[in-house]
Amino acid sequence: MIATIATIGTVLLEPLEFEFFQRGLFVATAASALCGLIGVFVVLRSMSYIGHGLSHAVFGGAAASTVLGVSYFVGAGVWAVLAALLIGRVSTRSPVGADAAIGVVTTASFAIGLAIQSRNGSVSSALDTVLFGNVLAVFGRDVLAVLVVGACVTVFVAAFRRELTFATFDPDVARTSGIPVARLDALLMVALSATVIVSARVIGALLIAAMLVLPAGTARLLTNSIGRMLWLAPLLGALFGFGGMYASWYAEVPSGAMITLVGTVVFGAAYLGVDAARRRAVAGLDDHAVPA
């Protein structure tokens, strides 16, 4: 028993001897928790395609900022805002629907990123970091960025929990009840963009869409209450980020891939567990086995 605890202790402590891993572990855990929190609304509003699109758009911004020599956060932030405005314009002023507008704008943005990457070989490693996530590329400013965005998004969700829930569940009635639905939707998009930007360097732009869905989707399988989802999804996200970082260390696989795989395994287990419980309930063996 003592030997097992000692082994687990060694497994957990060994990578922490390296400062870059400490930073990476913190940012991965916090960013994944943040993705879990904002992911609750992404899942309940069926917005995962927007999350997917935004992460691709951010890649174009990252590429432009590398070439222009400006901060990644400035480049990706401005690019995300421009992409969102363009999506809005294309979807409202043409017969093209919002999903097609997202597809056009964000893949074009991604293509610009790829073009810049191929023309500037020297910056390709920095862009690979944004694409796939790289724990070695996490610096003090990433820690600060995830802390600031995490605090702002948590305060926003806690302060407007009732309004966000109402606007997600029944926007028409929420509007007639005096809730500024359009303004809340815009703020949610800002929160989602900021989450994608601060998470891209550790999870990877290509895999953020998964983290916006996996913790919240797993939480949704486990509970029928949005109140419980709002603490369970960030907790699951943090666990995926934490576990994924250690898995990445020992398997020598990029951090974003392992975080996503840990999340996928837990989601799969929850899905199979809930499905089995439901079948037992249907068979009359256990009337209360469905989610609480």
Binding site: L44, R162, T165, F166, D170, D172, V173, S177, N224, S225
Partner: protein, 259 residues
Amino acid sequence: MVTSAPLFVFEHVGCGYGAATVVDDVRFAVDSGDFVGIVGPSGSGKTTVLKALLGIIRPRYGVIRRREGLRVGYVPQVETIDWTFPVTVFDVVALTVRHGRFRRLPTSDIDRIRGIIDAVGLDGLHDRHISELSGGQQQRVFLARALAQEPDLLVLDEPASGVDVATRHELLHLLADLHHDGMTIVLTTHDINGLAAHLPRLICFNRTVVADGPPDEVLHPYVLERTYGAPMDVLHHGGMPVVLEHRGHGPHVARDRSA
């Protein structure tokens, strides 16, 4: 003599979506204490009228005058609700209640919400997920949500749609009790015999107001044909008008004798 102003008035209102005009030159008023059913076929623009009244869509022309400070409780069609959304009966009603940011719902509000849920006949189901309710119970959750807003006017969109006869009767009794207690109610329905004929005032509607008055006056073959676009007969049974599809005319489907 002092007369109170109507709760709301539609003055020559037209509304639509995109290029299509859905309702045209709509004119009617609802006074405090009215119990009004807007009847018409599917696609006649009944829900559009309600959305314009609620301010969800804006009229293209005309004016909707609402009494200052009018509070409206809205019960949407159950078909428009996402029944998989992770909320309980209590949560749905509590969503409408404002309270301090970063604070839990005060005990007084919790008690009030529980009282409203009990009053619509959902006692014992407070913590039930909305997907685990029957059709009638689902309708009542949204009635409770509307009542929690302490409305002057209750608006229901197709409350009888998709519910069985017993549930429709229960709903009608519940609404009659609320009306008896002073609530003004406006609802839409395409169910003439099951619901509309029991109400004190009907507005027959098809893109515009065809007729407005008590069921005895407006449930007339001429009005119904203009409303539904098909000939209909009206009989009287136990003092109530009963509307029947006219069998003398209309399309016939020839029996395939070759089969």
